[in-house]
């Protein structure tokens, strides 16, 4: 049994839901992200937020998987601050939807001034509404600098408790920075550009298992929606106790996400498709 706390199911097929359910996935959380192209209007985000809060939970339920989500405009679309602020203004009306856990995945992409301005606008929204925050850290050569800038930015919002903020996509050069400041951290299991299951388990062995989880971040790119069970296999291969496997792939995400008051990983009987829609 496991939770995948970061996966973009709107980009995945029904076969992926089948494979995840068979591998033991009982709950997922889906952060708002970049579609692979820039939306042409805030209305495009309105429709996307409806997909995340209305249709995707129904799709997941057909496979017995509980679906939760996070809302934002992704940093890859934050270079136009006027546009981004129009999208952020749409978010409050969706916060009452029962599967919305908080704001995410916000953060930085190329570490630009405009991206930072929009990151701070999202942090203000989370602070004002006392919401959990899921943070994307930049890719590859931009990750270390971006992570440090993000941690500094969050500290400028004293109402945001680091224990309610997860910094995602950490690797060996950023995990300690995140954990030392009291934040949670997520490791993304990617074939090429983030952590392999082997390296993720190395990081747990090096930095401990208290405030850490693993996710697939499966999306429309090169990714693996059943990466988390592969990491479970890697932990068992090394002789880790089953209790530790369960902690980092179920107990930890459950503990962090339950702070929202809306997260559930209770067993869900697969539902029939709604033929009226």
């Amino acid at each position: 049994m496991y939770i995948d706390p970061h996966v973009h199911m709107v980009s995945r097929s029904t076969d992926d839901y089948v494979h995840m359910a068979r591998a033991g996935c009982v709950a997922i959380t889906e952060p708002a992200f970049w579609a692979g192209y820039d939306r042409s209007s805030p209305q495009g985000f309105f429709d996307y937020f409806r997909q995340l809060t209305e249709s995707e939970p129904r799709r997941a339920a057909q496979y017995g998987i509980r679906h939760h989500t996070w809302l934002c405009i992704n940093p890859k679309e934050s270079e136009d601050p006027v546009f981004a602020r129009e999208v952020i203004a749409l978010i409050p009306e969706f916060l009452k939807k029962e599967n919305v856990l908080g704001i995410g995945e916000i953060g930085l992409n190329k570490n630009s001034r405009n991206e930072m301005e929009i990151l701070e606008a999202h942090l203000q929204l989370a602070s004002d509404h006392n919401l959990l925050v899921l943070v994307h850290t930049p890719h590859l050569e931009d990750k270390l600098k971006g992570t440090l800038l993000i941690l500094d930015a969050i500290r400028r919002f004293p109402k945001l408790d680091p224990g309610r903020v997860l910094i995602d996509h950490v690797e060996e050069h950023t995990a300690k920075h995140v954990l030392d400041q009291g934040f949670w951290c997520g490791m993304t299991l990617y074939p090429d550009t983030k952590c392999t299951p082997q390296r993720a388990v190395d990081i747990i062995e090096t930095y401990g298992s208290e405030r850490i989880w693993m996710n697939s971040a499966g999306d429309w790119g090169h990714s693996d929606p059943i990466a988390v069970p592969k990491a479970q296999m890697e932990m068992r291969r090394r002789g880790h106790l089953e209790s530790l496997v369960r902690q980092v792939t179920f107990g930890n995400p459950q503990r962090f996400l339950s702070q929202s008051g809306r997260f559930s990983a209770e067993p869900l009987r697969p539902t029939a498709p709604d033929i009226t829609r």
Binding site: K110, N111, S112, E141, D142, L144, E172, D202
Partner: protein, 92 residues
């Protein structure tokens, strides 16, 4: 796991990955003469870090590939990342 158990478990897959690195460099050689760009300069320097006998090779290689600056750039003109810091800054 003991040191011997780690080698038993992982030697074969990492032997294969080492050969992949060698084959990649051979492939570049076969492609003909030219000058390495900033990515391959960083890659070749990272290989040296593997052999310096110091610990935390993964962290140090990731830091080696990273942008060392500390302030936001004026504007983002691309969305993607190249995998290595461009010291001339042409890619932003």
């Amino acid at each position: 796991m003991t040191r011997a158990q780690v080698v038993d478990a992982y030697f074969m897959e990492h032997r294969a990955r080492l050969l992949d690195v060698a084959a990649f460099l051979d492939r570049i050689d076969r492609a003909g003469p030219g000058v390495d760009d900033f990515r391959m300069n960083a890659y070749r320097n990272a290989i040296a870090l593997l052999l310096d006998g110091k610990p935390e090779r993964t962290r140090r290689i990731l830091e080696h590939f990273s942008d060392p600056s500390t302030t936001p750039i004026p504007a983002a003109h691309v969305k993607g990342a190249t995998g290595a810091h461009d010291p001339i800054g042409k890619v932003h």
